[in-house]
């Protein structure tokens, strides 16, 4: 199988405190991977590096064969258009409607109005909030806001979906719904990487887990660990 994501000897330090140490890993195309570990293990740093929001001090990062660490500043937006991101705190624009929020990735690419209407409607329908398209995000529940955030991440058909603690603000019932959504997205061929510290999420997802220890090292033998459901 082809590697969608490759990290080769990646290290990152913040104020002499290591966030990631000599990390090497590979995620296959179409794979669903969990990134596990306690707070401060470097999960978010790793995800941010995959969209070039952080640069490693050492090492190389490849996404679909493209070296992310060598990208010019002007090339970064084009990488981010191929990689959808879901945030724990949703990061929706509060003064824009659900429809407008989800339309943003298409708008920045210069999609036509017809395309925007069609794709946004499809994405909202896929996550089950199409009936809330005219509302502002502030009027939605946390679960609904996370669904809108997912719709925004998948609206332009990304090759990779990254989710940073996507269920951190949700109750168990909503968490299960969101996990099912990720599985559905993965089933359509998108590579999905979910960072979480919640063992319950790991149990529900039941896919390969990469476990990071504090200081950003991969736990020995956990690199290809298969978690039992």
């Amino acid at each position: 199988m082809d590697a969608m994501i490759q990290l080769i000897h990646v290290s990152k330090t913040y104020d002499r405190r290591p966030a990631l140490s000599d990390l090497t890993l590979e995620i296959e195309k179409g794979e669903f991977v969990l990134l596990m570990g306690p707070s401060g293990a470097g999960k978010s740093t790793l995800l941010r590096m995959l969209i070039a929001a952080e640069t490693p001090d050492e090492g190389q990062i490849f996404v679909q064969g493209k070296n992310v660490t060598k990208l010019k500043r002007s090339e970064i937006p084009f990488l981010r258009r191929k990689v959808g991101t879901v945030f724990q705190d949703f990061r929706l624009l509060p003064k824009k409607s659900v429809f407008e929020n989800v339309a943003l990735p298409l708008l920045v690419q210069g999609a036509s109005s017809v395309d925007i209407r069609r794709k946004v409607t499809e994405a909202l329908r896929a996550v089950g909030v199409d009936h809330k398209k005219d509302q502002l995000p502030t009027g939605l529940s946390a679960g609904e806001q996370q669904r809108v955030c997912i719709a925004r991440a998948i609206v332009n058909g990304p090759i990779v979906l990254l989710a940073d603690e996507p269920t951190g603000n949700l109750d168990p019932e909503r968490t299960a719904e969101i996990i099912e959504l990720f599985k559905l997205i993965n089933a359509r061929g998108t590579t999905v990487v979910v960072a979480t510290h919640d063992p319950q999420v790991m149990a529900q997802i039941n896919r390969r887990a990469i476990v990071l220890q504090e200081g950003g090292r991969v736990r020995p033998s956990a690199h290809a660990m298969q978690v039992a459901g």
Binding site: P77, L104, L107
Partner: protein, 299 residues
């Protein structure tokens, strides 16, 4: 199309969100541009006045008192045959006296006591348009002064030269004041944009993370700066026009300078449009400076 609409809507939303700073930025820009505009108006009108004076220059060739009629005719022929001369008008001693009495009726008694008419006969010479430059006029008068029968040659060049000097000073002041106040306008607009940038930094980060290019994020701020500059300069033109009309009315009401009100003019439409473009340019510059200094987030 939708993207263009979005960018304009964002610029409008930025201005609405920071209404007070937007209004303050427009007013201060209008004020600073009005100050520059006053000098510019003064400069434009003095330049056109200098142009009229130069165009309208009349040289008076005074004749010696004892000159015979034949000598006068000979001199007139000589002047008329000169290719640099467009027209000559002979003013006899009697005509000169008559004009003096007509222009200064209260002072005409001064000449009564002298017994004989002290005013000399003269030729009023108009040079051809291509020979009206200060240098050409000077050369011509120096040549004519040496002709026999000519007592004196007089013209208002000194006055024109003095006016040209004043215009040069005003030009320098306008450039200096313009540069200082333009910097002020750029700073004011830049600070307004900076406030908007701070209030929307989280939104910008989200836009960057979903793949917006730097220019997609910057354009609404540049548009905002341009609109602030355009509104400021348009308002400054209104202020200047109002002030100009008031000044013209006041001049008309005072008897002494009556007539000047018809000579002074406001900026033509092309200059007004150019000033609005300057305002837009200053707004752009303000936004650009702010974006360069504060707008490029890490992500």
């Amino acid at each position: 199309m939708r993207r263009v609409f979005y960018l304009f809507r964002e610029a409008w939303a930025n201005m609405r969100a920071n209404r007070t700073t937007t209004v303050v930025a427009i007013l201060t820009t209008a004020f600073t541009l009005s100050c520059v505009g006053i000098f510019l108006l003064l400069y434009v009108n003095l330049r056109s006045a200098a142009g009229w004076l130069q165009e309208d220059i009349k040289i008076i060739v005074y004749l010696e008192d004892q000159l015979s009629r034949e000598a006068v005719v000979e001199l007139e022929d000589r002047l008329k045959s000169d290719r640099t001369v467009a027209a000559t008008v002979f003013i006899s001693k009697e005509q000169a006296l008559g004009e003096f009495r007509a222009q200064f009726p209260e002072d005409s008694h001064l000449l009564e006591g002298l017994g004989q008419n002290p005013l000399p006969a003269s030729f009023v010479v108009t040079l051809a348009p291509q020979f009206r430059s200060p240098d050409a006029v000077k050369r011509w008068t120096e040549r004519v002064r040496t002709i026999g029968g000519v007592a004196k040659v007089d013209y208002n060049q000194e006055w024109i030269d003095a006016l040209a000097g004043v215009i040069r000073y005003i030009e320098l002041i306008a450039i200096g004041v313009g540069a200082i106040l333009s910097t002020a306008a750029v700073t004011i607009i830049g600070n307004t944009i900076r406030l908007t940038l701070f209030s929307r930094r989280e939104e910008e980060e989200i836009l960057r993370l979903i793949g917006a290019t730097r220019w997609f994020i910057r354009i609404p701020y540049l548009l905002e700066g341009a609109v602030l500059g355009a509104c400021g300069s348009a308002l400054s033109l209104l202020i200047l026009k109002g002030g100009f009309e008031l000044f013209r009315q006041q001049i008309g009401a005072t008897g002494r300078l009556s007539g000047i009100e018809h000579m002074i003019t406001f900026f033509p439409v092309s200059v007004c449009l150019a000033l609005i473009l300057v305002g837009i340019g200053l707004g752009f510059a303000g936004s650009f400076v702010s974006l360069r200094r504060f707008g490029d987030g890490r992500t």
